[in-house]
Amino acid sequence: MAPQHPTRLAASLLFAGLLLSRAGLPQPVAEPPAPTPLVTSDVADAQKRPRTLAILPFKDHLVTPSDLFAPQGQVSRDNYAASLESVVLRSLEATPYVTVKPPARVREELSDDSALQAVGRAAQARYRLGLDLYLGMAAARAQENLKESAEMYRSIFQDVSDPKPYADAQFMLGVSLVDLGRVAEGHIALKDAFQIQADRRFRPNFFPPQVNTALANALVDHLSTADPLHPYGDNRRMHDLATRLGVSALVTGTVRGSPDGPVLHLAIFGVQRRIIEAEIRVSALDSSDRIDAFLSRWLACAPIGQAVASSRSSGKWRMDTSGSYALYARQPTRQDFHSVGFAAGVSYDLRPGFEWFGRVNMYTSLSDPYRDLLHSFNSVRVLGGVGFTLRRGPLRLFVRPGIDLHVLGSFVASTDADCKFLGLDHPLCDASTVSNLDQDLLAGLNLALGGQVHIGRDFFLALQGSASSYFLPFSGTDRLNYPLSAEIGLGYRL
């Protein structure tokens, strides 16, 4: 056998080794994977929070004035609103880092809120009273009750949870106004009623002819001028609704007619910026791809990790600082002495209409007219308790029962002029006239009444008056007791 060349031998060994290694290991993929675009949801981020959205029930404005007095069964219509709601819901549910509240859940949350239920019952009672008055030919008093009923329904977002009772009140308000001859106001009320429930039908001969005319005119006006991007009111109301639902965005939809067929006006209201952040007008027929693309575009542009508006944390904390004044209904001096100072407080809404609070007051006394108080009296009060609140527009009223702990500084008083002029140790000073409050702490109950007026976005002017009654220590409250105080200051809602 002829000897092999060393180079050829080495090449043969390397080739044999490569064959062996390929036989024992998995084969590499022949074709590299197709490149896919990197999206935000692919980035692992423990800090990233899901965006919470609520889809409000879509509005259906596919009505015509000619259908207004037609029997319900005679008008056949496709339910575009429900099918388009499903399209939007499916698209959003398929998106990562998005939590969606479907319309059914939105209705359920609003309907199950006990605070809203109480207002709803009151609104229903007002409506019934208004209706009875209208049927009893007392249209003026009827419209007052119906207006109040409609305002209550509006405050609890009844048009979102179940629009019919709200629409009933609003329609009857418009009808009673027309009956009273206040045609312009009646027209506006009826137009607002169609905004709540556009597909309402009426029996042709139930109302007088002038009311039927007003209803038809209002529907025409509504269909031609209503803003399809705000089916549930202005941005402020949308923000309030989103805050109550604890979501960062609201999705609204309105289906309207057009020469080219029904169209969907889809809008997304952002809580953080308090505006309509995105909107689109698409055909209501087979536009799921365009709706998907629209929602994807908005989600891609909307900042991830933005603060989720939570109904548990927004606007719950309130802090204020105030100037404070106090006097005592029981004191050892012959004339009132006045105290002035500084107060700071904090409160937290445990639930609507109910809060807890804490306050600290620091006082220093001014001289009484007879100068019975021998030197300035300094003290610190710490108060805490619960509060019951009532909100009406920018005004928030509260009643706060609580506990009052009063840490006293040195307090020496006398009614003897010799003690004041010559000193407490002077032989002419009658010691029996000297009051020296030796207890360091008084404890009792406090009741405060007050209000906060919102003067800016989160700033408020705070006013408060309070009274306390001390009962501890049992033998130490007979000389100084029953402080009455007044406070005025500025606060901030966190």
């Binding site: 004339q335 007879y370 100068r371 003897d416 002029a417 004041k420 002029f421 010559l422 002419l428």
Partner: protein
């Protein structure tokens, strides 16, 4: 009746409220007639004679009288100090201190805030007529608008032969209210000052 123009009619409630507030403040602050007697007052007494048989110095010499008053509402406290000379330099002479009455405390001092009449009882020795024994005198004065305190000191002590003896005194204000210091509130009776302590009025 002439009608006001609309812009003036609109301002009428505001003006009425402002005038009402000003009247209320004037009533509270400006119409009060009460004045303060608090402070230091001095009077020069005549030598012993027809006009002064009550308070006089050694050998009938003229005296200086000082009133130190603290006022607390309607209540008064204080003392009267006697000086051996009208120039208010010495309350006693060092050579014979036990023969000299230096001062006495006021009791039951009151001022009527409406009439500005001041009254007090003085229980003390009295230079001249009673330098060693305590005599009770009643002081009744009126505080005038000219910052003078004029009135009488009258012996109100039925056990004393001087009972009813009176002296007309007019004090002039020397110290403003609130300017009294602790050194002016020292009052030693003759028994306490037997070793020649003197009080300098300077």
């Amino acid at each position: 009746m002439r009608r006001l123009p609309p812009h003036r009619r609109r301002l009428f409630p505001v003006r009425a409220a402002a005038i009402g507030l000003a009247c209320a403040l004037a009533t509270i602050l400006g119409c009060s007639t009460s004045r303060e007697v608090d402070g230091l007052w001095r009077a020069q007494l005549e030598p012993h004679g027809a006009d002064n048989a009550l308070i006089f110095g050694l050998e009938g010499a003229a005296l200086g009288l000082e009133l130190v008053v603290g006022q607390y509402g309607p209540d008064l406290s204080g003392l009267v100090r006697y000086y051996t000379s009208p120039d208010f330099e010495r309350a006693r002479v060092a050579e014979a201190p036990d023969n000299q009455c230096e001062c006495g405390w006021l009791h039951q001092g009151r001022i009527d805030p409406v009439t500005n009449k001041v009254s007090f009882t003085l229980k003390s020795c009295v230079p001249g007529s009673s330098p060693q024994a305590v005599l009770r005198l009643r002081g009744q004065f009126e505080l005038g608008t000219d910052e003078r305190l004029a009135g009488t000191l009258r012996v109100d002590d039925p056990t004393s032969p001087l009972n009813g003896t009176a002296l007309q005194v007019t004090f002039d204000r020397i110290g403003a209210p609130g300017e009294t210091d602790a050194s002016q509130l020292v009052c030693r009776q003759p028994a306490d000052a037997a070793n020649g302590n003197v009080f300098s009025g300077r």
